[in-house]
């Protein structure tokens, strides 16, 4: 449920796994929120041909575990799944799927939003865009999992 994969992503498959994990703990959930990030056809006005995602797989999974643990501190009964795809992706492919399962919907949306914000802040994953006339690595946040300011920002966005 916290993984890096080269295979196409499925919300249903990950949601099924997350829901099964909730049942295995003897709990139930009434609300499942998901987020999928899709490859867009343009970036800053340039036509994208395809993307490649690269990850430091072992560290990325640990990062997802940290994000899950952070979420549980705030939302103790939440179950979270995060799968990031790597390798070559076409326009419209999902690069990431996040599932948050909770008793009620407000928390499901919050946990899901929190997780994607944190992934973007700290997961060791890189996007490489290929255009008709060149390519570019996208470089966003300097990953610092111990940065409490960044974490507070993600919480604020999630619980706005």
């Amino acid at each position: 449920m916290l993984a890096v994969t080269r295979a196409p992503l499925s919300v249903d498959a990950l949601a099924g796994a997350v829901e099964a994990s909730v049942r295995a703990r003897g709990k139930g959930c009434g609300a499942v929120a998901s987020f999928a990030g899709l490859v867009r056809a343009t970036h800053q006005g340039r036509a994208v041909r395809y993307l490649e995602y690269e990850a430091f797989d072992a560290l990325a999974v640990k990062t997802f575990e940290q994000i899950r643990d952070e979420a549980r501190q705030r939302w103790p009964d939440a179950a979270l799944g995060i799968v990031h795809r790597v390798g070559r992706l076409s326009i419209g492919d999902a690069s990431i799927v996040i599932i948050a399962a909770t008793a009620h919907r407000t928390e499901a949306f919050q946990v899901c939003r929190y997780a994607i914000e944190r992934v973007k802040q700290i997961a060791p994953v890189w996007k490489h865009e290929f255009f008709e006339d060149g390519d570019a690595w996208v470089e966003g946040a300097v990953a610092d999992p111990a940065d409490e300011t960044a974490r507070a920002r993600a919480l604020a966005v999630a619980c706005a």
Partner: protein, 81 residues
Amino acid sequence: MRVTVRLFARLRELAGAEALTIDVPTDATIADVWRQVTDAHPSVAPFDRAISCAINASFARMSQPVSAGDEIAFLPPVSGG
């Protein structure tokens, strides 16, 4: 002592290698390892202030000491999601 360095994304491309094996003094920190990498591959030096690092697949601080056989990873700013 000998450590392994892993480079990702644009760092990897600029250095032309995804892994390096380098010899460092026994009291070396991750920052010392990074200096050796930038000495050998000046093209990655501009990442000086925007680098994250990991040791044996756990995030670390640049001030952390390294041990023989450690795997040190340097990470440019991330763009997952």
